[in-house]
Structures are given as C-alpha cells and as structure tokens.
C-alpha cells in the first residue's frame, strides 16, 4: 500500500469539505474493494475520507410502503433487518449472499453502488426495484445512477447518502457465483411492483454493468412463471466473456437465474 491520509468525516458536509481539500481523494465505505486494491498498489488515493461514521448515512427505516437504507449500512444489517425481510425479501436475501460474513459486516450498500462493479449484486436490486439514490447533491433514479462498468453519475465530490426502495408485491434474486471470487457471473433480480408491473435486472453478465431484460419483463407481465422466460436470453454479443465463463455461457446463466428468481418470488 502507498502512503495515504485517513480522515473520518462526522457529517455529509464535512465529507464534502475534506474531499474538496484533497489532492486525489476517495470516499471510504466498508473498504471491501478499495482497500484490497490499495494493498495491491493498484490504487493510490492521496486521502481517504471515511464516511461510515456519519449518523445520517446509517440505518434502515420505513419510507412509505418501502424502505430507506443509509449508505453506510452494512450488508449484514440489511440482510438481518426484519423490516427489509418483510418488505423486500429479495433485497434481504441478496444482501445475505454478498461475499462472506467478513465482507458482509464491513461492506456497505453505498460503497457497493458507488463502485458499481459489474459483478456486484446491489445494482440489480436497485434497478429492478426502481430505487432512488439520494446523494449529497441530488436524487437520481437507479437507472440514471449506474452509467457503465465501474462508472456512475456521481461527481468526484458527491457521496451517496441513502437509497430509497419503493415497496414491491414480490421480489427475489438468484445468482450464479464465480467459483473463485464468488462475485456474480450472472445475477438476476426480479421485482413485481404493487401496480403489477415486472422488472428484471441483470448483474455480473453485462459489458456495461447492470441492465434490464425487457423481453423477460414483457413475457412476465402476462404470465409470472419461470416457464415464461425459459426461451429468453440476452444477446451474447453484449455480455462479458472471461476465464470463468464465455458470453454464451453467461447468456444461458441469465435465463437459468431468471427462472430461479421467479420461482423464488412465487
């Protein structure tokens, strides 16, 4: 690891102020991606601004018929929340399947979505559930927030404060993990809105990060069953291909995981 300056911010305003004063600063959430990257000397921020102790960025509360989750809330807290389990069981199960227990007790929802790893789990939930990302500057619809692989709409001095999820009639997530890293090779989040509309979002497979499967959504609107999507797969040309899985294999996994998520959503 290269030398870096560590700051602990007490408020969102202070975090922004510290960032403005830094040469090449980075906001630090649970550090589950950033710190290993720094340890490998692949990243060398001049300053780390730790936002996990900011009170307004922590905790889970009911918000209308949905839930609002502070950006500094850990995956374990989301997975263990009775409110989330009752309101959005798919989201709770997704959080409970991220990484391993150590990761889940350090990693945060804000850190995960701000990093927007194409194989991270949360982006699929945010997009399928139609979540709103509340930042230090504005509110963004999830689909506008995620802009590409490791890319978001966040500006350099902008930090995620919370994520607001509307309620859903049903939700479920199924992922096929990379055998080595256990990141998603294909993760599919299926959400049935209270209005009956269905959204299907895919992570782990797309070259540009999370994407929606509109063909599946259409098919499910009339027939919310695994069979409805059995013949629907994304175009392999748009998918990732690497050591662990070709694009064709990932395309298949998207279909299989979609079926499993739909079955789990009931």
């Amino acid at each position: 690891m290269y030398e870096t300056n560590y700051h602990r911010a007490g408020s969102v305003a202070e975090a922004a102020e510290k960032m403005a004063g830094a040469d090449d600063g980075k906001f630090l959430g649970g550090g589950q991606t950033l710190l290993p990257t720094m340890k490998q000397r692949l990243a060398a921020p001049s300053d780390l601004i730790d936002v996990t102790k900011i009170a307004e960025m922590k905790g889970i509360c009911a918000d209308g018929d949905g839930v609002s989750i502070g950006a500094a809330t850990t995956h374990a807290e989301v997975a263990g929340s009775d409110l989330v389990k009752q309101t959005l069981p798919g989201l709770a199960s997704l959080a409970g399947g991220i990484g391993d227990p150590a990761v889940r007790h350090m990693g945060t929802i804000g850190g995960s979505i701000a990093n927007n790893d194409p194989a991270a789990d949360y982006p699929a939930a945010l997009v399928a559930l139609g979540a709103t990302v509340i930042t230090s500057k504005r509110e963004l619809a999830a689909e506008d927030f995620f802009t590409g692989m490791f890319e978001t709409a966040l500006e350099d001095d902008e930090v995620v404060v919370s994520v607001k999820f509307p309620g859903a009639a049903a939700s479920a997530y199924a992922k096929y993990p990379n055998p080595a890293s256990r990141y998603a090779m294909a993760g599919v989040f299926v959400a049935k809105g209270k209005d009956g509309g269905v959204k299907v979002a895919v992570t782990g497979a797309g070259q540009d990060g999370v994407f929606r499967m509109s063909a599946m959504e259409t098919a499910l609107a009339g027939n919310f069953s695994p069979d409805a999507v059995a013949g629907i797969a994304p175009n392999a040309d748009d998918l990732l291909s690497d050591l662990h899985g070709s694009a064709a294999y990932r395309a298949n996994l998207v279909t299989v995981m979609a079926k499993r998520a739909i079955a789990a959503a009931g």
């Binding site: 000397r41 055998p179 080595a180 662990h244 299989v256």
Partner: protein, 786 residues
C-alpha cells in the same frame, strides 16, 4: 496429556500454539538492525534485459542498496540447479539451462527477479523497487508445451535445442508393441493434467544475517528440509561454507512440496546480508507466490490400454510431454520420470508397459513436485483409462479393475517398482460397501426426478512413498541419499528430546513422534520434546516430503530407540543385579521379570549421567543416534469412490459423497491420518473441479490471485467417509507406508470418472469447470435430439 502410544488418537501438541496465534514463523523472527528486501521482477515472459537504472531508487529514503545479477555473478554466486540427473533414451544427459538468482541478461518468465532493493522498511523497499527502471527488449514467448516442441518455436536456453530437456523412456517397447498387436480391444485417450499453484497458507519468507566477526551466516527460512537447503546453498550456490551457515526453519505453514526447493529469493537475502552489511528479511506476498512458487503437474499425455478377449490387460503404452517451465527446479526432472512412470502399473498385473516422457522448457513459472508429485499424474492417467476401458467393453468399472488386480506379493512391475505388500480387494470391497455402489441406480433415478444428473466414479490408486534406498535412487540419478537420521537424547531426569531430520510443515510430528516414545517406554507424551528444523541442533536430515517422515523418519527414531533401550536395560540389569535379558520396560519402569524389583526410567537415566555405578567399561550418558536407509519404497494403496450430481442447466458439479478406503500400513495416530486424507482429497477435488494455473498467449498468469485462481472451500466438498485397512509394510520396523499424499493422488480421477458417468460424455478435462460441463451437457442434449 497421558501415555498415548501407537494407535492413540492423541490431540496435537502443536495445536495449542497454532490455534492461539502463538506459532513462530519466519516472518515472526527479527534480527537487530534488519532491513527489508523487495524484488524487481520481469513483467515479460521472455525478454532481453538491456539496462537497469537504479539511480532514482538509490536516492529514495531508507534505501541501502539495489543489487543486480552482475554483482551476484561478480561475487561468485552459482546458478540454481536441478539435483536429479535424467538421461535421455539416447544416453545423453538432460539439458539444463542456466538459472541465476537475479537475471542480468534474459528473463524467461513473468515474475523472474532481475534486481533486489534493500531498505529500512518494507514499504520503502517496495517503493524503491517500483522506481528501478529496467529496459527490456521483448522476445517471442512460448507457453504451451506442445508448441514449444514445434520447429521454429521460440528458444529459451541455448543448452536445450528445441526446448527439449530430455526424451526419456521406461519399460520394454517391443514387448508392449507386441501386446497391442494381439489385443482384442484397445482404449485410447488424450489426457491433460492441469497445472496447479501450491498455495501454502504461509507464503515463503527468509531472514538472513551475517556475523562479520565470525564470518558466519544465519538463515531463517520457510523450508521443508533445512539441511538440504544448507547443503545446496553451500555446495552449489557458493553463498557460504556449510560449517559457517546455520539454517533454521521454524514453524512452517504448509508447503505441499513448494518449500522443498531453494529459490532465488532466499539465496539472495543470504548473499545480500553480507554484501549490504545488515540482516535482510523478505516475505513473499501472495502475487509473488503465484508467480514464483514452483507450480505442479502440467502433463499432456496419450495413453493406450490393450486388452485380451477376456478383458485382461495385455499392455499399457504412454507418451507424455511434461512442462517444466522456464527453469529446472531442484527436483523437477525426477517428477515426470521416476515418480511418475514407475507407477503406471497401478494396482494391476500388466505384463508390458512402455512410457516415453519428454520434458520441455516454456516461458512459465518453473514446475516441480507438488503433493503427490508424479503419482497423481500416473494415477489420473491410468484410472481415467481403466474407467473408460470398462465402459467400452461393457464391464462394471469395479469388476474390470478387480479382474486385473495384483494378488501375489512381492510383485515386480515392468516399470522398476517391486510392490512388497497389499490387498487391493480389501480396499475395493470396503469402498464399494461404504459407497453403497450397488444402490447407485436408485439414487440416480431419484436425482433425475429433481432434474439432476448423478454419476459415480472409482479410482484404485497406488503410490510410492518413503523414497527410497539411497543406493537405488543414486543409480537413478538422485544427487542426494534419501535416508533419515534421528537422535534420542534422554535427559538425567528421564525426559526425552528427539532430534529428527524430518521437519513438520503441518503434519503434527511433535505429537506422532512423541507417541513412539510413549509407546516404547510408557512415558507421558508431555515428557517428550521433538526438536527439528535447525541445522545447529539436529545432526542432519533430508526433510519432509514424499510422505516419508513416518516410514523413513520414524524408522530412524525407532533405530535410535532400540539403542537407548538396550543401554538402559544394561544399566538397569547392573543396578538390580539381574540378567539383561530379564529386564522388561513397562509403564515407565524397568522391571526384573518375575520379581518385584524395578527402577523408574528416571532412576536409570540419572544413573547413566551420574555414572557412579555403571557396568564395567560403559560410557556415561543415555543418548543415541541412528541413520535409517529404507530397503524399498512403501506402497500405500486404496480405492476412492466419488458420487456427484450435475446441474445440467448451469454445469455445476456437486460432490455429494466421497468414500476413501486406504491401506497405509500401520497407523500411529488415526486422527492425524484422517486429517491428512481430508486435506489430500480436498486438494484433489480442487484440482478436478476448480484449480487451474492459466496463462495467456503472452505468458501472463491470468490466475494470479484468489479472484481468479479457485481454491476449494468447505462448501465445495462433502463430509468424507474414510476407512483404513492394514497390510503391514514389511520394509520398515513400524510397518508403515505413509499417508500424506494419498488423498491428492487418488481423488481426481474418481471425481472426473463420476462426472463423465453423470453426463454420459467422456470428453472432459480438469478442471471440470461449470462452463465445460454445461457445454458437454448441451452437446449431449443436441445429440439426443438429433
């Protein structure tokens, strides 16, 4: 603790410190004023080094020195060597290319060291290593071993024309060819044994110090064999004379073979400690470990099995190309020859075998022995072919094997080995029963109802441990003898220190070896200390690898114990005025048979050291040493049965049951043996399903971290069903065979045989990644549809 002798499931004495974080590993050691080393490594697989500019690095804070290969050579430091001479079939010696610890001219694999920085702190050393500017002129690289043998392939070493190190053979080619001419059926397969990275939990490390006044060196290092390290460092690398070099391997956190060898980094630290004038520490990070720890396996083979009309084996013909990487590591030449092709007879009576092995240089990390070393490659080859042949001729794989078992011993195979004892029916029967082999069809049908493809696979392995009579291995090219030494030192108060040349890197020697003493004298195991891993304390030793510490290391202890016992009995007889033959040792006492006269072990030990009243002419003291040279290899064997369920939608394989029935000969501590088998099987399942060192065409290791290199985890394996079945090894005093590698040797073919059975497609290579298995399932479904 208590008196826990042979057969007791004694808890491991060493675990108290290991599980409370009190182990002392090389990185825990310090020396006053020590600096830290960081290596400058090649980013290219093959390149000329055209310039090294260290000026910026030397100007950085805390930096003592930047050393390069020119300085190393200038100081007379020798090349790294391979210590086992193999001759090609034309009689010519193997072609060993030069390997310098710091390369000044041509780098031959990614990660090869070209310079070292020594600085006050590890961070300063790393920062400065980043600032060393090395100019390279890239050369074409060759990664694939078969491509390396093609005409026009990039050449690695001038010594090895066409990248061929040797072209070796074993067995009777004419007799084997004749067997194929009269065969009723021939099974042919191409088999790839995938390259693995050892991944010991503790990475390699070194701490070297030089005492200028005494002209004496001390090296703490992560070694499975510190005496061999000292010998090689002095005799071949010319770093320090043997009597001026102390090598200490403290607690060692795993090795699997990778810590047998003497690597550039450890040697450079030793050399640099004198050159820079301060102790030098280096600890490998995980990326360096992936790039520089000797890899394992990497064989490409063609195998043919000839059967007669009654499905008895007539002959076995094998051609193998083994990838040794960019340089010949210490024992690399022996692995694909005498540790591999000599096991190709397996458990079967095969009249004729011929194997041809070519070894090749490629621009990859050097390859050497890794848990099993040659024997997993032989077992995988033979057991895949046996299973396939059984399917082709329509016999049950179990019965086909049984039909061809060796049943009389000793049995001379056509490939050097003479099996001394075994009972292959016993382990096969036990495994089939434990696995409920006969009930498989019902389980398969039940799995099918859940949409899963269930398969069952066997592997009947044999291996050779306790390598081996020194004269025999010498005649086969080994540069060292493979005996072991021990010293049993009884203290005046009757406690005992056993100094052994074996060195534990996780095997539990401190417990198992103490059980021997407990058994012999009826003493508490807490009264026994095992001393190992320090060349200043232990007389000499060949170290721990090849499952040899039981069969060879403990045999040496037994010989020393025999001498101690004889002397103690003489003293006791003298003191109690009895005949020596009437003295019996029981429960920590020396008794005169048939009387109530007795002396405690402590009283006899004290008498030996006070020397007030010893038999006429006897030397004082109670301390004896012994060297034990084995009379033969030992031959552990067994049957493994694996059952899998494949999800045809994703190609994911779940190992749902795994049965191991092993014959390790006599067992000292069943709990520790079970632990060895568990670890070995898990590594074997890792090789079969998950692990693969994968290079791109430019020689970049794609799997250089745990993000991409998949180690087996607890949820990848089932709970194992183990049993042991003893045929005593006649070759050593304890009747032991060895158990350290069997799990890794026997398990991969069982897994692959099970998957190929499940999916009905035999064209599967390791690792059986989900995508590969899925693709074969898809192909099968397409075929079925047509």
């Amino acid at each position: 603790m208590a008196v826990e002798g042979i057969g007791a499931r004694a808890l491991r004495k060493e675990d108290k410190r290991f599980i409370t974080g009190k182990g002392r590993y090389t990185d825990d050691m310090t020396m006053p004023g020590m600096g830290f080393a960081a290596f400058v490594r090649s980013p290219h697989a093959h390149a000329k080094v055209t310039g090294i500019d260290a000026s910026a690095a030397l100007a950085m804070p805390g930096v003592d020195a930047v050393l390069t290969g020119d300085q190393l050579i200038g100081d007379g430091i020798g090349n790294l060597i391979c210590g086992w001479m193999i001759h090609s079939k034309d009689g010519s010696p193997m072609k060993m290319g030069g390997w310098r610890a710091l390369e000044p001219e041509i780098v031959r694999h990614v990660g090869q060291a070209v310079a070292v920085v020594v600085a006050d702190t590890q961070a300063q050393a790393r920062d400065a290593a980043d600032a060393v500017v090395v100019d390279y002129e890239e050369l074409p690289a060759v990664i694939d071993p078969l491509a390396a043998l093609e005409p026009g392939a990039p050449q690695l070493h001038p010594e090895a024309e066409g990248n061929l190190i040797y072209d070796w053979e074993i067995g009777d080619e004419a007799a084997t060819n004749a067997a194929f001419e009269k065969a009723a059926h021939v099974t042919r397969m191409e088999i790839h044994n995938n390259r693995l990275v050892p991944n010991a939990m503790e990475p390699r490390a070194a701490l070297a110090g030089y005492d200028a006044a005494e002209e004496h060196y001390t090296l703490y290092t992560t070694s499975q064999n510190p005496h061999v390290a000292r010998l090689v460092l002095s005799a071949f690398y010319n770093v320090a004379p043997e009597h001026k070099l102390r090598v200490i391997a403290p607690d060692v956190g795993g090795g699997f073979g990778s810590k047998i060898y003497i690597y550039p980094e450890e040697m450079v630290c030793l050399w640099a400690s004198k050159r820079v004038g301060r102790p030098v520490k280096w600890v490998s990070d995980r990326t360096e470990a992936f790039l520089t720890d000797a890899h394992g396996r990497d064989h490409r083979s063609e195998a043919e099995l000839a059967l007669d009309a009654d499905n008895r084996i007539l002959g076995f013909r094998v051609k193998t190309v083994a990838n040794l990487g960019a340089y010949m590591s210490l024992f690399s030449s022996s692995v694909p020859t005498y540790l591999y092709a000599t096991l190709l007879s397996g458990q079967y009576d095969i009249p004729a075998i011929h194997a041809n092995v070519k070894t090749v240089y490629t621009n990859t990390t050097p390859v050497d022995a890794y848990r099993g070393a040659g024997r997993p490659e032989a077992t995988y080859l033979l057991e895949r072919v046996m299973e396939t042949a059984a399917r082709e001729v329509g016999l049950s794989p179990a019965e086909f094997r049984r039909k061809n078992f060796i049943r009389t011993f000793p049995h001379q195979t056509p490939v050097i080995m003479c099996y001394d004892a075994g009972n292959y029916d016993a382990t096969l029967d036990a495994a089939l029963k434990a696995a409920d082999y006969d009930g498989f069809a019902a389980r398969k049908a039940e799995a099918a109802s859940r949409g899963k493809l269930r398969g069952i696979g066997l592997s009947c392995y044999i291996e050779a441990c306790g390598i081996a009579p020194s004269a025999a291995v010498g005649s086969l090219g080994a540069g060292v003898g493979l005996w072991e030494s021990a010293e049993v030192r009884v203290n005046p108060v009757g406690t005992i220190e056993v100094l052994t040349g074996s060195h534990s890197h996780g095997q539990g020697h401190e417990t198992t070896f103490a059980q021997l003493i407990s058994e012999r004298f009826g003493l508490d195991t807490d009264a026994v200390s095992i001393v190992h891993g320090d060349t200043d304390k232990v007389q000499f030793g060949m170290g721990t690898y090849g499952s040899r510490s039981g069969a060879v290391g403990m045999s040496a202890i037994v010989k020393a114990l025999d001498k101690v016992e004889a002397k103690a009995k003489k003293i006791a007889a003298h003191l109690m005025e009895a005949a020596e033959g009437d003295i019996q040792i029981e429960g920590g006492e020396l008794k005169v048979a048939g009387t109530d006269k007795k002396l405690s072990f402590t009283e006899v030990a004290l008498a030996a050291y006070t020397a007030h009243n010893l038999p006429e002419g006897m030397e004082p003291g109670l301390k004896e040493g012994a060297f034990y040279d084995p009379t033969n290899f030992t031959f552990p064997a067994g049957t493994y049965v694996c059952e899998v369920e494949v999800d045809p939608d994703t190609g994911k394989t779940e190992v749902v049951s795994f049965v191991a029935a092993d014959d390790f000969g006599n067992i000292i501590n069943p709990m520790i043996v079970e632990g060895q088998v568990h670890g070995g099987i898990t590594q074997g399942i890792g090789q079969a399903l998950l692990e693969n060192a994968s290079y791109d065409e430019n020689g970049q290791l794609l799997t250089a971290s745990y993000m991409d290199y998949c180690m087996p985890r607890a949820d990848d394996v089932p709970s194992y069903q183990l049993s042991t079945h003893v045929t005593e090894c006649p070759g050593n005093p304890l009747g032991m065979k060895g158990c350290g590698e069997a799990g890794a040797i026997g398990s991969p073919p069982a897994v692959i045989n099970a998957i190929t059975d499940a999916i009905g497609n035999n064209g599967l290579s390791m690792p059986a990644s989900p995508e590969k298995v899925w693709a074969l399932c898809q192909a099968g479904m397409r075929q079925a549809a047509e």
